[in-house]
Symmetry: C2
Subunit: 324 residues, 2 copies
């Protein structure tokens, strides 16, 4: 898939998680042509981490013809700051404070290196290789342990005054006294309802509130996942369907509020929860269409990421490398 | 205030209201060097309106040295669409459907002519001449009969996929069964609480709910304005202060949600309600600071427009004329 019109036909993408760091060399069409990985948490000194990464990268860089074939590197990391090329106070990483990860890789590899957070990387990935190709205005919603977002306006990710714009998972959805407690210290945030843990909370709640039979009752309530709920829904379980209905309806209404901001062409959903397919996507679309302000009706598509889950994070990070 | 370095040192701003249209010729520093006005509603045919406007403009254009001294014209109009240069289905104007106002003025005057809505014009005005000078990311909130917004990201107004982005007055704030009915057909929109009519609703509500004495009880409840409430607050009336406290607190919390989107340097407030000064601004700031997500704490300023109320709309519209 080498593109002969480009002197530098590849970029490197780094998907940095708390446990592992996955590196991919990616071409313009979004093919990961070579891949490697190292442990993230095994290197309490960031310089050791970068050295280990470079050692792991060396053979796959040679595989594609050497570093002169690589345009740049993109890093998707928790609390990654695009403006500063830093990781700032990331709770799930071994390094404390502010880490100048972009500068360190740039010096070690001799190519430009850009940094952003996971959800922004996901948005870039969709825009570069996925369902948002050609779109100038869309909102990416990532449904994982938390809920992240990456907002694209006029073809660019919105970073705001500090590099940290786009935290729609913490938009307060419910202001009633019964609103759910969020890890951020406040109450009623979207992610308390629509993250993986939010779905599990809803499952426990609905199981308690009803006496309807459900295969979910056979599971340890503290360990129910959205995939368990999906499997139950597939067996025809109404309670499982109600859990997705409840979750999707909240997501749809929340998105109707977000549309007022940037009038996007699409909302693109990514993450484990989207594997529930129509059980979750139909209620999102229904609630969105019911709630959206008249002038925006019928304008935004509700889409699911088209990138393979296992590749999406590396592809997203790599997309940063194509920026000029 | 002629700027000798510019061949075309002026722009025309048109503030189009349902009743009157005010035109100003404006220099780079935001001085309105000449002004004129015509009736908007007196011309049911848009071509007659444009002809009348050009006739009224002729003498003031001559005053500044002729049309060759004027770079462009900017129009702030209800439902003004930046992308198309049109006014689309504006309920308060005499013309129905889609009006190609930009094209008509461009042909009549022979200079570029751009169109946007009132709140976006206000944001451009603040960025060009007002408190947002030098800012790349801020959110303008206009508190009038309705609540409008103009969102600036990376130095540009956010228009979205259709030219109608930025309707934060219709973000649903309250999802409880008691949420207020909005003119848009939905319930709980921000503007049902924080527009001029929203404040009057709050005044009637608090007057009913309490028996505390208040000079506001001497007024016809259907005719109370935010200025009446301000005058009462100035006399030390606690109930009047409570009305602003209630309103400001809602605005502050709503803005804390909007900050998640674009992490702005500032929120800039404009409109009649801001004349209440600290009675409204203090509760906005307090609620904002209490509610804002930790990572954004202390980053956004809460500001009031620095443009004279009577000039702001013309200045805002004129600012469009400086765009390249």
């Amino acid at each position: 898939m080498d593109n002969p019109t480009l002197a530098k036909p590849y970029v490197i993408g780094l998907d940095m998680g708390g446990t592992n760091s996955v590196f991919g060399i990616v071409d313009q069409r979004g093919n990961i042509v070579a891949q490697t990985a190292i442990s993230t948490k095994a290197y309490p000194d960031i310089n050791d981490y970068v050295a280990a990464a470079v050692t792991a990268l060396q053979p796959i860089i040679e595989e594609v013809g050497g570093i002169e074939k690589i345009k740049a590197m993109g890093i998707g990391a928790p609390n990654g700051n695009y403006y500063n090329g830093t990781i700032e106070y990331a709770a799930n990483l071994v390094w404390e404070g502010v880490v100048p990860i972009g500068k360190l890789f740039q010096e070690a590899l001799g190519i430009p290196c850009r940094v952003t957070n996971d959800a922004n990387a996901a948005a870039l990935g969709e825009m570069t290789y996925g369902v948002a190709r050609g779109m100038k205005n869309f909102i990416m919603i990532t449904l994982g342990t938390g809920v992240g977002s990456g907002i694209v306006v006029d073809g660019k990710v919105v970073y705001g005054c500090d590099g940290f714009a786009g935290e729609l998972g913490h938009a307060i959805y419910d202001r009633s006294p019964e609103a759910r407690q969020c890890g951020c210290g406040r109450k009623g945030c979207l992610e308390t309802y629509t993250s993986a843990t939010g779905v599990a909370r809803t499952a426990r709640l609905l199981l308690e509130q009803s006496t309807a039979p459900s295969p979910l009752r056979d599971l340890d309530p503290e360990k129910i996942t959205s995939y368990d709920v999906f499997l139950a829904a597939e067996k025809g379980d109404q309670l499982a369907k109600d859990i997705f209905e409840y979750t999707g309806s909240i997501l749809g209404k929340a998105c109707a509020n977000y549309a007022l901001f940037s009038s996007p062409e699409a909302f693109v959903f990514f993450g484990g929860l989207t594997k529930a397919g129509h059980y979750i996507m139909d209620p999102i679309e229904k609630a969105y269409n019911e709630e959206i302000l008249n002038i925006y009706k019928g304008k935004a598509k509700i889409l699911v990421s088209s990138l393979k889950g296992s590749e999406a994070a590396v592809l997203g990070a790599s997309a940063l490398g194509w920026e000029d």
